[in-house]
Symmetry: none
Subunit: 201 residues, 4 copies
DNA sequence: CTTTAACCGAGACGGTACGTCGTGTCTTAAC
DNA sequence: GTTAAGACACGACGTACCGTCTCGGTTAAAG
């Protein structure tokens, strides 16, 4: 499937000049490039347009706001879409998901994601986009494994599924946002296993 | 009356017109009032100045930025400064701290605090202020109780102190920011006890 | 045997799809319709295209600019092309020409013509089109009658022909553009005769 | 009276930072400078702001639109405000007024004034400003002399005053706008006298 | 009866300018 | 020396049109 989540499904034969893939790539590339030097808040649509040598209108035509552009720019980075290997059991599934999440947040995109999470707190549109493209996929996958694990007796069932997700993910995001200096190799390595102990039967 | 963190100690009789306490109160009141209707991002210094019938300069003279104003406005609200009763043991101390935190975040200020936490992700100055006025007091108190509890054998010592703080606070903030709809009465009541189980010996 | 240069420019039967008369009419109609509600400056090619259900390209293919479209739209209105009856003498000819001009400028197209005249002041292309389609025909006809009238002794010959045109037409346009409120029935009726007195022998 | 027509009369001691005369001059100078190379239509507020090293807001704060800025820029040029010498009779008064008008329109500002006259055709605000700052002063002065001249028997009284103004000024503006190539030295010299003959008793 | 060429609508493209808002700084007179 | 008022340069916002372009699809004469 090649459509991203942000594209609308469309009839195979559309009227008018087709969307320029070149411009699209140029915009996403410019966005990623600029985010290396500035925060999400500082990043302006105008700066993206200028860097991408693209009209502002072209950006507004395809994305509703800055958050959406950044979200898609992040998705299009290498390593964002790599699927997980098949796990042997639910504990391993959870562990692999946590490892992937931590690896993602530890990369230079971690800061950007934290800022998107932040932006989402003030802006409903941004909230929806962040949820659809990042949070929901993450949480859904995790909830599935947790439910299975609770059924199978791998995990304790004294917490409801949503709370388990909070218990697993909360500490990661809290550390990222509250004291990112401690978001280091040691934490990356140890947390996924520690977290499992929190919820094991 | 004690000085707030932002005030500098001053000689009792200075030259010139003294700082207007009336203006200060007016600014903080206007800030709180405006935050009822808009997000931290939407709130502008200009709006505060206009509402408080105060010059912009007066705000900039006494606070370095929007975050600082809001932080102080929040502190000045009733119920923010109430001290906790003396706990019987460290578990109770932790539980009371978590209850207080959750109660605070559940109030209409919760959203504002989430937004400040958010703003801090993009802005170093805001980060420092949020840390000094909110995060550090919270974390320090918690770390003290945890250390004591680990020494006394009340809590497991398999996690380091910082991780325990993350494990306790992370889920609360994650729920507040990722799915605030579930930040409800039920959660408020059950979480502090559940959290204790996570770290108990 | 060979086509002359003139014939080459417009061979009677060209290859390819012929120009759509339907689109042309639709464009001119839409233009006239929109000009009832907005000024020449406010009118946009995009609005015409939308109203006429026509691609912008189709307009640009056949007219060099907005002024040209409007000029042709005006010409296609009923009453623009009605020829004058044969005059008995040059004074009558001039009088009839002035009457026709005033009648035209008094109609709801008067405003549009004033605006085209205006647009022509800033835009060379527009200037050329307005001149060719409106001013030159008007002036040429008038100059002819004036020359004849001066030869025949009907008119004074103390002014050169161009100046006489200015003296005849200038007041009309000045009133239209400087104080259109006075461009009324009374003026329409009296001016042509008064004007004649100005230039009579 | 030293206030220009565009300034509002104000109490002698106002609050707040006073208007920057430097910025004002810079804006008017930049406007005049840009008008040497482009038409009124092409001139943009942004270009003025950039050239004058001034914020756009500063322009919008003091002038309602482009026309107003240009109008004031023109007024501030040397030679725009020079008063006429006292005339010996009304014919001379009219002649001097016409000479002044023609001289003004023949200068490099003539084109700009024609374009302002043009702009006024499409834009009510521009119309009002052009009228107040240019047309009305011109016409009022002329009407006064005409009325006096008609009373004194210098001028024919078969036309009403407004029509006489049209007869005097119309040809000048028509030539300027319809065939500016003929707006030359010869015309400048001869027209004022010719015009007087048109309206003499 | 297919090819070819110019047309058509739709609409995306890179741009420019719009008029507004908020920033943080500044400059007054008043207190 | 602080205050309220408010002007200042700056930069970004999101929108409207510009004139050009690129599609898929007609339409009709030429081969």
């Amino acid at each position: 499937m090649e459509n991203t989540a942000l594209e609308q499904s469309e009839s195979p034969a559309r009227k008018g000049r087709p969307r320029s893939e070149k411009s699209k790539k140029s915009i996403l590339k410019a966005t990623n490039s600029l985010l290396l030097h500035m925060s999400v808040q500082e990043l302006s649509i105008e700066a993206i347009a200028k860097k991408a040598k693209v009209g502002k209108t072209t950006i507004y035509r395809w994305w509703p706001n800055k958050t959406a552009v950044i979200m898609e720019a992040l998705s299009n980075q290498p390593g964002m879409q790599t699927p997980l290997p098949t796990p042997r059991n639910n504990a391993e599934a959870i562990q692999m998901q946590l490892e992937k999440l931590i690896r993602l947040l530890h990369s230079k995109n971690g800061e950007t994601i934290a800022q998107l999470f932040a932006e989402a707190q003030s802006d409903e549109k941004a909230q929806a986009i962040f949820e659809n493209n990042f949070l929901t996929p993450l949480i859904d996958a995790m909830e599935y494994s947790i439910e299975q694990g609770q059924k199978d007796g791998e995990f304790a069932d004294r917490y409801d599924v949503k709370s388990v997700v909070d218990i697993l993910c909360g500490p990661i995001f809290f550390r990222l946002m509250a004291h990112p200096a401690d978001f280091n190799e040691s934490f990356m390595k140890s947390y996924p296993k520690e977290a499992l102990r929190l919820i094991s039967a």
